[in-house]
């Protein structure tokens, strides 16, 4: 199971309280994880990636294991620690509160 941490507003949208977990068939990449996430929570479609291009939206970043995975291809394999569920895959969004 892949653990995903979503920003608060997307947790509200998906109606989940904490981390979400998804099963991914085949290679575990940013794309396959997000595809699995959006299959399970269809209301998240278009909030993390552009509906049409499937590119990451510019106010969202992807992080895991101390690394910024936002600028790499969505088809790069995620770190082993994410694949074995010991580390989460983080979807981080811009917030403006002060």
């Amino acid at each position: 199971m892949i653990r995903i941490e979503l920003p608060a507003h997307l947790r509200t949208l998906a109606r989940v309280a904490g981390d979400v977990s998804v099963e991914v068939d085949g290679e575990v990449t940013v794309r396959s994880v997000l595809n699995a996430l959006e299959r399970r929570y269809p209301m998240l479609q278009g909030t993390i990636r552009n509906h049409v291009s499937q590119e990451r939206r510019p106010f969202i970043r992807f992080f895991a294991c101390g690394k910024d995975l936002s600028l790499t291809s969505q088809d790069i394999r995620l770190p082993d620690a994410v694949i074995d569920g010991s580390e989460p895959f983080l979807v981080v969004g811009a917030i403006a509160g002060g």
């Binding site: 920003p7 608060a8 507003h9 509200t12 949208l13 109606r15 209301m43 909030t47 939206r57 510019p58 106010f59 970043r61 992080f63 101390g66 690394k67 910024d68 600028l71 983080l90 981080v92 969004g93 811009a94 917030i95 403006a96 509160g97 002060g98």
Partner: protein
């Protein structure tokens, strides 16, 4: 620069640390730091920087102290409600450390004044509460080559970094564009744990002091994510984007722009769809008093309903598509929320699925409490 005996005693816990010492304290005394916002983040930032002996503190804030601020904006007190925030903050700062020179700017930071104001300072600490001012602060700091310490908060989560410093990334490298209006709630809409801006503000004050001292490793090039609920502090490397429109190799933003337009203009809650039929609080009161057959629909969340409500049926706006069968389209229906924005979405949705006798309570419970029932709690 000489310190009086009183100042030497005041700063003694700094002076005995080799990383600060007399030379470091003199740097602090000579430093000029601008706090943009005297709110949740700005409160601890200003108090700690003043206590630390930063010589010149600037505070920009156009706002007045509101009762809802006091749960987190610890520089202000109950007696300050209604006062300008810069006045209230200046009074507390002077009480903490009378050696601080204060410059207050009771204005909105704007494209017209940002470069002039920021130009008077060595370091900027960004404690604003909206995307438009965050992009303005970023661009003005990049253009004026002024490092700025960033933090933002929402609910239990915070982010912090140092931007426009030492060849590192800027805010636009991290988030090139803001979310569309309405997509990410503000603290006024979604709430924030009162101590969270305290946590992040203290981190900002620490980073500002490190920048002044030239000590330690700054957060430049790193994004710190704070999750207060899990009490996780995580950091991630972030890099300058060579294609960044403001700090990249061939920038397209070379002067300040219209940030309201860039970020989209929005109030606390907004509805930007087609106009929907409305009913005023007075009209609704009249219909209810007359005993008309009206279904009143509350589209807020259940925890909001615990604060205040009208006699009504609850279906949160996000649940409406799945629960629309609970409503009778033949009956007259009035939808409400806190401000009228979510219920406008609800009315637009209900119209789209065939409801014809549906109206939105204009101004929501805020307007109802103001004009019909002053005893109703407001939030």
């Amino acid at each position: 620069m000489g310190f009086s005996n009183e100042e030497i005693l005041r700063y003694s816990r700094h002076l005995i640390m080799p990383e600060v010492a007399l030379a470091g304290q003199q740097k602090l005394s000579a430093a000029r730091v601008l706090c943009v916002g005297a709110g949740g983040l700005g409160s601890p930032v200003a108090l700690y920087l003043a206590a630390a002996g930063v010589g010149t503190l600037g505070i920009v804030d156009f706002d007045v102290v509101d009762l809802t601020n006091l749960q987190r904006q610890i520089i202000h007190t109950t007696a300050d409600v209604g006062r300008r925030k810069v006045e209230s903050a200046a009074e507390k700062i002077a009480a903490v450390n009378p050696h601080v020179t204060l410059q207050t700017f009771p204005v909105s930071l704007s494209r017209e004044n940002a470069l002039e104001i920021i130009g008077k300072f060595d370091v900027v600490v960004d404690g604003t509460d909206n995307f438009a001012t965050r992009y303005l602060v970023n661009d003005a700091c990049v253009l004026s080559k002024t490092p700025f310490v960033y933090a933002s908060v929402f609910r239990f989560e915070g982010q912090a970094s140092v931007f426009a410093h030492d060849g590192g990334p800027c805010y636009r490298c991290l988030y090139p564009e803001p979310p569309p209006p309405g997509m990410v709630p503000s603290c006024a809409e979604g709430g924030v744990l009162g101590v969270l801006p305290g946590l992040l503000g203290v981190i900002q004050a620490t980073e500002a002091i490190k920048l002044i001292l030239g000590a330690g490793i700054s957060l430049a090039g790193r994004l710190l994510l704070v999750d207060a609920l899990g009490m996780h502090f995580r950091e991630f490397t972030i890099k300058r984007n060579e294609h960044c429109p403001v700090c990249g190799t061939t920038p397209s933003v070379t002067e300040l722009i219209d940030y309201q337009q860039f970020c989209g203009i929005r109030g606390e809650e907004s509805y930007t769809g087609p106009a929907v039929p409305e009913i005023t609080p007075e009209e609704l009161k009249q219909l209810l008093d007359a005993g008309d057959d009206i279904v009143v629909l509350d589209v807020r969340e259940p925890h909001e309903r615990d604060i205040c409500r009208l006699e009504s049926h609850l279906i949160p706006v996000d649940d409406l598509p799945a629960r629309v069968h609970e409503l009778d389209s033949a009956r007259e229906l009035v939808a409400y929320c806190k401000s009228g924005a979510r219920s406008a979405h609800a009315v637009a949705f209900l119209q789209s699925v065939g409801f014809r006798r549906v109206r939105n309570l204009r101004g929501g419970l805020d307007a109802w409490a103001e004009r019909i029932d002053p005893a109703m709690p407001r939030y």
